[in-house]
């Protein structure tokens, strides 16, 4: 069933015509009118969305200009930005595809092509493709980070998105930020979700197993000690498809364990192998795919260690990759995709599955341009109804952006700087810290910064702020710890977030060093060196260990924006990087 080397060479040859290889990656996108004409191919269509972060409405999203690869990942997908990324995938500069995939010429192109994503527009695209493929010939997979990320998702505890996903027709999903509500809310949400929620790497810990409070939940298996179904079988056009779920392995580390005390995660690739072997043996699938929230680097390593997977549909690291990476392993090769974030893309893989195995495929990462796709009326009505109670609050214009505000990138984005400046200003602190999430929408120059935008950047279920004294040595330890989550040469030690954002602090960072040796020359904004033994006032938010005492971060940022009215970044606290010359993961 696995793809042999010879077969794969053939597949790769065929894939060249399908947008996998240079020369044609976006051949269907030369004219906007052709953007959504995706020829039917094969007999199974797998649609993949991931990391939309509850963006029900169309938004702007600037792709990163810094996405460094270290160790074995240097210079390889997904660690390519700007022109290096376009060259690698042979995307024409200044094309609509170049705008969708890179940060290049963002302001002007964003004005030209308009907003991306939005569930009403996504719904139109999904319906169109599913109709074209024919009844029962497609599956819609959702890689997670769907039920968190907007004001309405926060206030409805994810319920608005459960409803939207049911309406959209999501067949199978896995999760990460879904696990940041309280465990009983998560169980309730998954109960209301009409598709299958799968995760082979979420166990119930030994203590909780003795008297497990969700023992009646349908997905729980006492024999395996798993909290959710590890996989599901679907019959698509007469083809048996196994979808194995892989939730974000480091959820209780990157996010609060206190909300989900009974569950234990981890990469669990040995269990993944056992489950795949079992599924291959017992279920006899014609196609076996993994729906993953590992992050792309972890997926690439997992694909090299685990055999028997045809395709890993990946997310978490928000890498919009127009073609799959191909990974060799013991039994053959596995395709690894990553489908971007914020509802900006829909991954479309058409597969020819016959004689019990994958014969051939076509893949396209389709950008969802809201101006080029009609809004689905039913979905739009649902969105309007969900937003109605919060509309006035969300549409408050807090200030005007004088330059592009964005987050994504390994270090401070401009919107992060606004948050860090707000924390320092409102809390009268010397230094501020803000988490390096990869979600958060962008604001164009001249546009109003609304409460919607602020919630897009900040709304988590542990939003409380703090102001406290920290020694220079403690601040360094935090920077070292987080940079090791990002730049550890072994992907299994990476957590998939970006570097912690800082305000009032400059430093030198050497990504290729090891923990304890990456961060040096820390100085305050005025150039005063940070003393390891001296104390500094630090303001921050998003503490995972325990609840902080201060106001939610969005209140702090909103107050700052209302006060400032015009937002221009005076100083971006981005570190001086050492040892990254020539790295194609940073804009030249």
């Amino acid at each position: 069933m696995k793809i042999s080397r010879r077969e794969f060479i053939r597949l790769m040859g065929l894939a060249g015509a399908a947008g996998m290889l240079p020369g044609s990656a976006f051949s269907a996108m030369k004219r906007p009118g052709d953007l959504y004409e995706i020829p039917k191919f094969g007999n199974v269509c797998l649609l993949h969305m991931t990391d939309c972060h509850a963006q029900l409405n169309p938004i702007y999203f600037r792709e990163p200009s810094v996405n460094l690869g270290v160790g074995g990942a240097l210079g390889k997908a997904p660690h390519l930005v700007g022109e290096a990324l376009l060259r690698h995938f042979n995307i024409a500069p200044d094309s609509i595809a170049a705008h969708a995939l890179s940060y290049l010429n963002f302001d002007q192109a964003a004005q030209q092509y308009g907003r991306v994503g939005g569930f009403a527009h996504l719904a139109s695209l999904v319906k169109r493709l599913r109709t074209e493929r024919g009844d029962g010939n497609s599956l819609l997979l959702d890689g997670g980070d769907t039920w968190q990320g907007s004001g309405t998702a926060y206030w409805t505890r994810g319920k608005d998105m459960v409803g939207a996903c049911n309406l959209l027709g999501v067949d199978v999903m896995t999760g990460h930020w879904e696990f940041t509500y309280l465990d009983k809310e998560i169980i309730e949400n998954i109960g209301e979700f009409e598709g299958d929620f799968v995760a082979q790497n979420v166990g119930v810990n030994e203590v909780a197993l003795f008297d497990y409070k969700f023992a009646d939940f349908a997905g729980f298996s006492e024999d395996d000690g798993l909290a959710f179904k590890p996989y599901t079988m679907k019959e698509i056009g007469g083809v048996r498809v196994a979808v194995v779920g892989q939730a974000f392995p480091y959820t209780p580390i990157a996010n609060p364990q206190r909300f989900i005390p009974d569950w234990t995660f981890g990469i669990q690739d040995d269990r993944m192998q056992k489950i795949i072997n079992r599924v291959r043996e017992n279920e006899q699938p014609d196609l076996l795919v993994v729906l993953s929230h590992n992050g792309m680097d972890v997926d690439l390593k997992m694909a090299s260690r685990v055999s028997g997977i045809d395709v890993i549909f990946g997310g978490h690291t928000h890498d919009g990759m127009p073609a799959p990476s191909v990974v060799e392993n013991k039994s053959g090769k596995t395709l690894v995709t990553n489908a971007g974030s914020n509802g900006k893309f829909l991954g479309v893989m058409d597969l020819d599955v016959r004689e019990g195995r994958l014969q051939d495929f076509r893949y396209r990462l389709v950008p969802v341009f809201s101006n080029m796709l009609p809004a689905d009326a039913e979905m739009q009505a649902y969105i309007d109804q969900v937003r109605a109670p919060y509309q006035e609050q969300l549409e408050e214009k807090l200030a005007v952006a004088e330059e592009t505000l964005y987050r994504r990138g390994n270090f401070n984005g401009t919107f992060d700087q606004v948050i860090c400046d707000a924390l320092r200003s409102v809390n009268d602190a010397q230094i501020s810290l803000s988490p390096g999430f990869r979600w958060g929408t962008s604001v164009l120059p001249g546009q109003a910064i609304t409460m919607d935008n602020v919630m897009d950047q900040t709304c988590i279920t542990y939003p409380e702020t703090y102001r406290r004294e920290m020694k220079g040595s403690e601040i360094k330890a935090i920077l070292e710890d987080v940079s090791d989550n990002l730049f550890n040469a072994d992907p299994y030690f990476q957590q998939g977030g970006d570097m912690v954002r800082v305000g009032g602090l400059d430093y030198v960072c050497e990504p290729n060093k090891t923990i304890g040796k990456r961060i040096s020359s820390m100085t305050l904004d005025d150039g005063t060196p940070v003393d390891a033994d001296k104390s500094y006032t630090v303001a921050g938010w998003a503490t995972v260990g325990s609840q902080s005492p201060g106001r939610p971060i969005w209140d702090v940022v909103a107050e700052y924006l209302r006060d400032k009215k015009q937002i221009r970044i005076e100083k971006l606290n981005t570190p001086k990087l050492v040892g990254v010359e020539g790295n194609p993961g940073i804009a030249g």
Partner: protein, 157 residues
Amino acid sequence: MMNRKRRMLLQGSLTAGAIGVAVGAGLLTPGSVLAAWPEKAFKAKEMPEMLQELMGANVVEASDGINIKAPDIAENGAVVPVTVTTDIAGAQSIALIAVNNPAPLVASYDLGEGTEGFVSTRIKMGKSGDVVAVVNAGGKLYSAKKEVKVTIGGCGG
């Protein structure tokens, strides 16, 4: 049957110390409980001294016959789940060592004759470092290690 024993082992580990645990699960010989507490070994900072005290030898050979299952990154450094399995013939005892702990020797398990080479427990780790398992088989020592990272958490994307 094995699963039930594992469950009992885990249950035991909630209330008992490391050595008491495996006895409770019927995997170890009661004699091992009565053996003198190897105080010097548990207080030793360096592996050779520790192993000499504990196992009467300090030459260790790396072995593929030992498998350590532990997380790459600990979800909670206070309770890091570690499972050691070994198929080394004649394994008499298994020691667990967290090299960067102030007292590196965490536990030592004496195995009764014919017992499956399997121990599972949770250990406390103050900071990142290797977890080492040393198996004593007829006076010869074999080892394997697994890096476990203990992080401050947060800031995930």
